[in-house]
């Protein structure tokens, strides 16, 4: 029996969506019978354990160390090393999140193994090794490659597969792992704090109203904010807008900003550069407002209004406001 080891992230609701996808992906990389082992950063709730079982995990290992209280990429990587040391390990995977990529890179660096980041497909070849597809340019380009190395390490793109429960599942065994850590490894752990958040979080917003250079200046964002509020959404921006200092970088959507997955993405005065689209291509519906009918965004949007944002947006906000007060009056 071969083994695939997966680093699984948890939050208050149990296994995070990206990790559920990574587990689904892990089950599909070989046709050989495989056991699926999960490493957790902290003890699971009963609910999380149930989720792990349903995604086909049979071996649950939990990091435990007196000196570790926060996220520690080095400690987690030591655990993965201990879990994947034997010959029967086929691969070590994690979701291609900031944490997943970081933990796997530490594992690769300390073991001298290859690490292929942000894969959308991986298949074990008959003669050994893997054929892989991975993201370049934040997903605007795909790379097909082969990896000829034992105990492959790869991170799984969050859009590679939907999370699908395993056909058959048995209750997993649970154990703890206490890694041996050097003073330096022990020192590398995060002190975490949760700032008071205000408004709708961009990464998880159902509606994102985004403005680009075509908005014209910082003042132009008042109407974008108003529209976002009317639609219960968050404000997004392009890189031009943050480099010009019109809006803060935390609002930037794209390859070097935030990746968003809303039901509706409204792109106002945004040309649709590939690096911008890399952050919003998973939107269910995209509407573009742009003066240029040939802007690249038109090849990605579902609907378009050809026009000046400074004309269309105030009219739209007025219409929605009117509609709302009419609704109240009735």
């Amino acid at each position: 029996m071969t083994k695939v080891v997966c680093y699984v992230e948890l939050d208050a609701d149990g296994v995070v969506d990206a990790s559920a996808r990574a587990l689904t992906f892990a089950r599909g990389i070989t046709t050989r019978p495989t056991t699926l082992a999960a490493l957790l950063p902290s003890p699971p709730t009963a609910e999380a354990l149930g989720q792990l079982q349903s995604f086909g995990v049979s071996d649950v290992a939990v990091l435990e160390h007196d000196g570790i209280s926060g996220y520690s990429p080095t400690a987690l990587s030591r655990c993965l090393d201990a879990m994947s040391g034997e010959e029967d390990t086929l691969a070590v995977v994690a979701a291609a999140t900031d944490h997943g990529n970081e933990v796997l890179a530490h594992l690769a660096a300390t073991t001298g193994r290859d690490f292929v980041a942000v894969c959308t497909a991986a298949r074990e070849e008959d003669g050994g090794g893997f054929s892989l597809t991975r993201h370049r340019w934040g997903g605007s380009l795909l790379e097909d490659s082969v990896l000829r190395a034992p105990r492959a390490i790869f991170s799984v793109s969050t859009d590679a597969v939907p999370p699908v429960p395993a056909p058959a599942a048995t209750a997993p065994t649970t154990r703890t792992i206490r890694p041996e850590l050097s003073a330096q490894e022990l020192a590398l752990q995060a002190a975490e704090s949760r700032p008071e958040s205000s408004g709708v979080a961009l990464a998880s917003a159902k509606v994102v109203v985004s403005g680009g250079r075509g908005v014209g200046g910082p003042e132009g964002f008042a109407v974008i904010e108003e529209l976002a509020a009317l639609l219960g959404g968050a404000v997004g921006v392009s890189r031009v807008v943050t480099s010009l200092g019109w809006r803060p970088h935390r609002e930037q959507v794209g390859q070097t900003g935030t990746k968003v997955t809303p039901d509706l993405y409204l792109a106002c005065g945004i040309s649709g550069a590939i690096q911008h689209l890399a952050g919003c291509q998973s939107a269910k519906q995209m509407v573009a407002i742009n003066t240029d009918p040939d802007a690249p965004i038109m090849a990605r949007a579902d609907y378009a209004v050809i026009g000046d944002v400074s004309e269309v947006l105030p009219a739209l906000v007025a219409a929605l406001g009117e509609r709302r007060s009419r609704g109240r009056g009735e």
């Binding site: 996220y71 291609a96 990529n101 970081e102 890179a105 690769a108 660096a109 290859d114 690490f115 980041a117 942000v118 370049r136 340019w137 997903g139 605007s140 380009l141 795909l142 790379e143 097909d144 490659s145 082969v146 000829r148 190395a149 020192a187 752990q189 995060a190 002190a191 975490e192 704090s193 159902k206 219960g232 480099s243 200092g245 970088h249 935390r250 930037q252 070097t256 900003g257 040309s271 550069a273 590939i274 690096q275 009918p293 802007a295 690249p296 090849a299 990605r300 949007a301 579902d302 609907y303 378009a304 209004v305 050809i306 026009g307 000046d308 004309e311 739209l316 219409a319 929605l320 509609r323």
Partner: protein, 256 residues
């Protein structure tokens, strides 16, 4: 406080990516080149650290001889010296890249008989996005590393690095010397001054040829994803389109 910053030359692709007929390289005939925004910010952060604490910034790149352009750009905004590790083969993998950079760091530190207090990278390169070179170099040098850093404070002997993950702030304390990879947003990079541009033009670029080991990952082809191409349905022009837009939003269920 001496800082080494590592940057990578990449084509400035815009609305779409065109590939060469071999399906292995981007067609760059009509494109300019730049570094990733993360690395632009790494250069700016390094310059700010040395402005606050003294010392010098060295910028390093592994790439074709033309990457001297990106080194000069870094000099124009404040780097004091520049190092080029020329490679003939475009697209060295992350293991080879990390090994070449590590041996360059060791060599530079030996020549200067002083270590770099900080070695900085972008969190991931814009093109290959391997998410590992900085971490590999840190382990090879035996130094602590924080990645994806959005705020950096340096004091005597320590760097405090902050970043955000899933709505929480994470703070790492790193003893110096250390390795830090940064993300765009940590600062707003400055534009080059006129004296900066002059300095960049005259700057000498130190060159040494790196050793490059074989890789177990072999790229076969590149593909532009095609599935998402569509043609937008035009709802109308200007203000006249607003009623159609409102009914669309109603249909989508995003207005109550």
């Amino acid at each position: 406080m001496d800082v080494l910053v590592c940057v990578k030359r990449v084509p400035m692709v815009g609305g779409r990516i065109a590939l060469q007929p071999d399906q292995r390289h981007i067609d760059t005939t009509l494109l300019g080149f730049t570094v990733s925004p993360h690395e632009e910010c790494a250069v700016e952060e390094a310059v700010q650290v040395t402005e606050a604490h003294g010392g010098e910034v060295t910028v390093l790149t592994l790439g074709p001889p033309e990457a001297a352009e990106q080194l000069r750009a870094a000099v124009s905004v404040g780097a004091a010296s520049a190092v080029l590790l020329p490679t003939e083969e475009e697209g060295l993998g992350p293991i080879a890249t990390a090994r070449a950079i590590t041996s360059a760091v060791t060599r530079l530190e030996r020549e200067r008989s002083r270590v770099f207090d900080l070695v900085m990278f972008g969190n991931e390169a814009a093109d290959t996005g391997d998410y590992q070179v900085g971490i590999r170099v840190a382990h090879a040098l035996g130094r602590a590393v924080a990645t994806g850093v959005k705020q950096l404070e340096v004091t005597a002997g320590e760097a405090v690095a902050r970043r955000e993950y899933r709505g929480a702030e994470e703070l790492f304390r790193l003893p110096l010397p250390a390795v830090v990879t940064v993300k765009e947003g940590i600062n707003l990079p400055r534009y080059p001054s006129l004296p900066g541009r002059m300095r960049a033009k005259k700057a000498t670029i130190v060159t040494f040829v790196p050793e490059t080991p074989d890789e177990a990952v072999e790229m076969r082809t590149l593909r532009v994803p095609t599935s998402e191409r569509r043609s937008a349905e035009v709802l109308g022009h200007g203000k006249e389109a607003v009623p159609a837009l409102v009914s669309l939003l109603e249909k989508m269920g995003v207005v109550s």
